[in-house]
C-alpha cells in the first residue's frame, strides 16, 4: 500500500468516525446524568432528515446542522417526558423511541429518497493543513469535523471543572445525595438528556450533510447502536470515545475501499465487519472494566418528590 492510499484511508477514517463520535459523546453526556437512552439510532435518523430537509429548503448547511441538533433534542425530550416525568422504564422507552424515530424519518423522508442537498465541503485549515501526514489526515476535512475535535476536551473540562458538570455527575451517581445537597436532580437529568440529544442529532445531520449529501432511508444503518456500545467501550470518558469512534470509522472506511477495489469477498461479508467488531469491542471492554465505571444510578428513575 502506497503512502498516498494509506493517508486517504486514514482521512476517510476520521470522516467515517465523526458521526459516531458526535453520537457517542451525546450518549456519554446523557448517561453521565443517569438516564439510559437507547433511542440513539432513531434520534440520529430524525436528526439526519431534519438537517437534510433544512438544507434542501433554505440552502444553509450551518442552519441545517443546528436544526439536526434541535431535532435530536426534541426526540430526547420525548424520552424525558416518558422516563423523567412519567417514570417509564428507560430501556423500553429507548427502544420505543428508536422504533418511533425510524418510522418518523421513513415517513417524512420517503418522498426525498435519492435527492441531494447542499452540505459541507472539505477545505484545508491554514497552517495546520500543511503539517505533513497529520495535516493530510486531520486538517483537510469539513467544518463539522473540526468542530467535533473541540467537543471531547470541552466535555472533559465540563465534567471536571464546572459546577454544572459536577451536578450532572451527581445526578447520575447518587440522586438521593444530590437532592439532599439541595441540587435539582431532575433539572440536571433533563439538561444532560437534552444536551446529549443535541449532540446525537449533530451526529445524524453529519450523515446527510457531510458524509453523503443525500437522503436514503435507513441512512444511519446501526451507527446509533454502535455509539451506545462505544459508551461502554469508552468507560464513559470523552477521550476514549474519540479512540473508539475512529476505530469504527477505520473499519467502515476500510470496508468501503475493499468493496470499491472489487475484492473476491462478497459485500455482505464485508458489511458484517463493523457489527462483529462492535461485539468484540464490547466483550473486550466489559471483560476489562471494573464494576465502578458506569454511573451508579444509570437507568434508575428518580421517584417524584412528595
Amino acid at each position: 500500500m502506497s503512502l498516498e492510499i494509506l493517508l486517504a484511508l486514514l482521512a476517510a477514517t476520521v470522516q467515517a468516525g465523526t458521526p459516531i463520535l458526535y453520537a457517542t459523546l451525546g450518549e456519554i453526556l446523557t448517561e453521565k446524568g443517569g438516564v439510559l437512552n437507547l433511542g440513539v439510532e432513531g434520534m440520529m435518523l430524525v436528526g439526519a432528515l431534519a438537517g437534510f430537509l433544512t438544507a434542501l429548503h433554505t440552502g444553509s448547511p450551518a442552519l441545517a446542522f443546528l436544526t439536526g441538533g434541535l431535532a435530536g433534542a426534541g426526540m430526547a425530550a420525548l424520552h424525558g417526558v416518558v422516563c423523567i416525568w412519567f417514570q417509564g422504564n428507560q430501556t423500553v422507552s429507548g427502544l420505543a423511541l428508536t422504533i418511533f424515530g425510524t418510522g418518523l424519518a421513513g415517513f417524512f423522508g420517503t418522498p426525498y429518497v435519492g435527492r441531494t442537498a447542499p452540505g459541507f465541503d472539505k477545505f484545508s485549515l491554514p497552517v495546520l493543513g500543511d503539517i505533513p501526514l497529520l495535516g493530510d489526515i486531520f486538517f483537510q476535512q469539513d467544518a463539522l469535523v473540526y468542530v467535533s475535535y473541540l467537543v471531547p476536551p470541552l466535555m472533559w473540562a465540563f465534567f471536571r471543572y464546572t459546577r454544572w458538570g459536577l451536578g450532572v455527575r451527581a445526578a447520575g451517581e447518587s440522586p438521593a445525595a444530590t437532592r439532599a445537597a439541595g441540587l435539582n436532580v431532575l433539572g440536571f437529568r433533563w439538561a444532560a438528556l437534552l444536551g446529549g440529544g443535541v449532540l446525537v442529532g449533530f451526529g445524524g445531520s453529519y450523515l446527510s450533510l457531510a458524509y453523503t449529501h443525500l437522503w436514503t432511508n435507513g441512512l444511519s444503518s446501526g451507527r446509533g447502536w454502535i455509539a451506545v456500545a462505544l459508551v461502554i467501550f469508552a468507560f464513559w470518558r470523552p477521550s476514549r470515545a474519540m479512540l473508539g469512534a475512529y476505530l469504527f470509522g477505520g473499519v467502515m472506511a476500510f470496508q468501503l475501499r475493499l468493496q470499491a477495489m472489487g475484492t473476491a469477498l462478497p459485500s455482505s461479508i464485508l458489511l458484517m465487519l463493523p457489527y462483529v467488531l462492535t461485539i468484540a469491542a464490547l466483550a473486550f471492554s466489559s471483560w476489562r472494566s471494573k464494576r465502578t465505571e458506569a454511573p451508579a444510578a444509570l437507568g434508575v428513575n428518580v421517584e417524584p418528590s412528595e
Binding site: G42, A96, L104
Partner: protein
C-alpha cells in the same frame, strides 16, 4: 398557589388501568393522525381505513392471523427473557437464522417425505435460532457484555448471512438474477388448514402458548424464573440456577423466533428471499411489553399489531402513505402506554404550597 404532586398508590388501580391504557391508545392515534395530516393525508379517513381494512372482512382477518403467527412466536420468546430482566432485542436476527436453518434442510434433503422433512426443518430452525440466542447469553454470563447491544448487532449480522446465501450460493439459477432460492419441494411446505389461507403453524402457536402458560404457572423452573426476574440477588442467595436460566430463556427465545422464520419461509413464501425480513422481531418487543409479558395477552396484542400491518398495506396502496407509518404507530403506542403506567402506580393530587 396550588401545586400538583404525585403520591404512590397503596392499592392497585384495577379497572382504572384499562382506562389509562385506552387513553394512551387514543393519544397514540391522535399523534399518528396529526402526522398524517401534516403530510397532507386525510387523517380521520386514513385511520378509519386502517382499522376497517385490517378487521373488516374475512379475507383481512385471515391476513391478520397469518401475520400474527410470527409476531406471536417472537414475542413469546422475548417476553420470556424480559421476565428474567434479560433484554433479548435479537428476535429479528434469530428469525433470520431460523429461516436459514430451515431452508438449508429443505434444499439439502428434497427427496425426504414430508413427515421427516418438516420436523427436521423445524429442528434445524430451532438449532440455528437457538444458537443465535445462546451467543449473547454466554457473552453476558462470561464477560458481562451487554446483551441488548450484542443481540442487536447479531440482528444485522444475521440478516447479512441471509443476504450472503440468497445472493450467492443458494441463488436459484432460474430466478433471472433475483436474490431468492429455488421454490421448496411440496414436502417442505407447511400445508394449509382446510380451504382457508391459514397454515398449520397456527396450531403450533396454540400449543406453544399453552405450554408456556403451564410452564410459567405450574413448574418449579417457571417459578424460579419469575422469582429470579423479580429479585436476582435474593434468587441467587436461594441458590436458584440463575446462569442456567439465562441460557435457557435465550435459547428458547431464539428457537421460537427461529420457528417463526421457518414458518415464513416454508408456509408463507415457499422459498427464502430477502423480503422475508419485515421487522417482525422488533414488533415482537412492542407486543411483549404491551401485553405485560402474559402469554394470553401476547396472543391478543400480536393479532392487533398484525392488524396494523395489514391495514398499512391498504394505506400504502390507496393513500400512498409510506410503510414507515407503521413504525410511527408502534412507537407512539408503546411510548404512550409506558407513560400511562405512571397513573397505575401514582395518584395525583392538588395541594396548596406553603
Amino acid at each position: 398557589m396550588p401545586v400538583l404532586s404525585a403520591v404512590r398508590r397503596q392499592e392497585p388501580l384495577g379497572w382504572g388501568s384499562c382506562l389509562v391504557f385506552l387513553a394512551a391508545l387514543a393519544l397514540a392515534f391522535t399523534v399518528s393522525g396529526t402526522l398524517l395530516a401534516v403530510q397532507g393525508k386525510p387523517a380521520l379517513q386514513a385511520l378509519w381505513l386502517l382499522v376497517e381494512s385490517a378487521f373488516g372482512s374475512r379475507y383481512a382477518l385471515e391476513d391478520c392471523l397469518i401475520k400474527a403467527v410470527p409476531i406471536f412466536l417472537c414475542s413469546l420468546g422475548v417476553g420470556l427473557t424480559f421476565r428474567l430482566q434479560v433484554w433479548n432485542i435479537g428476535a429479528e436476527g434469530q428469525f433470520a437464522l431460523g429461516a436459514v436453518g430451515a431452508t438449508w434442510a429443505a434444499l439439502t434433503f428434497p427427496s425426504w417425505p414430508w413427515y421427516a422433512l418438516l420436523p427436521f426443518m423445524l429442528l434445524c430452525a430451532s438449532a440455528a435460532g437457538g444458537l443465535w440466542g445462546a451467543i449473547p447469553a454466554v457473552l453476558r454470563l462470561k464477560l458481562k457484555a451487554n446483551e441488548i447491544i450484542v443481540t442487536l448487532m447479531l440482528n444485522y449480522v444475521g440478516i447479512l448471512i441471509l443476504d450472503f446465501l440468497v445472493y450467492g450460493v443458494w441463488k436459484d439459477p432460474a430466478s433471472f438474477g433475483f436474490p431468492m432460492t429455488s421454490e421448496f419441494v411440496p414436502a417442505a411446505v407447511v400445508a394449509r388448514i382446510g380451504d382457508t389461507r391459514l397454515n398449520w403453524g397456527l396450531l403450533l402457536c396454540l400449543a406453544v402458548g399453552v405450554l408456556m402458560s403451564v410452564f410459567l404457572r405450574s413448574t418449579r423452573l417457571g417459578f424460579e424464573l419469575r422469582a429470579c426476574g423479580e429479585n436476582v440477588r435474593a434468587a441467587r442467595y436461594a441458590r436458584m440456577p440463575y446462569a442456567f436460566l439465562v441460557v435457557l430463556v435465550m435459547v428458547v427465545s431464539g428457537a421460537l423466533a427461529g420457528w417463526a422464520g421457518f414458518l415464513e419461509a416454508s408456509a408463507t413464501l415457499g422459498r427464502l428471499q430477502p423480503s422475508i425480513m419485515s421487522g417482525y422481531g422488533y414488533t415482537a418487543i412492542v407486543v411483549a411489553w404491551l401485553a405485560n409479558l402474559n402469554p394470553l395477552v401476547i396472543a391478543v396484542a400480536s393479532f392487533l399489531l398484525a392488524g396494523v400491518r395489514v391495514g398499512m398495506e391498504t394505506l400504502q396502496l390507496d393513500l400512498q402513505v409510506p410503510a414507515a407509518f407503521g413504525g410511527i404507530m408502534e412507537g407512539s403506542i408503546l411510548l404512550a402506554v409506558l407513560a400511562g403506567g405512571f397513573f397505575s402506580r401514582y395518584r395525583l393530587h392538588l395541594r396548596r404550597a406553603a
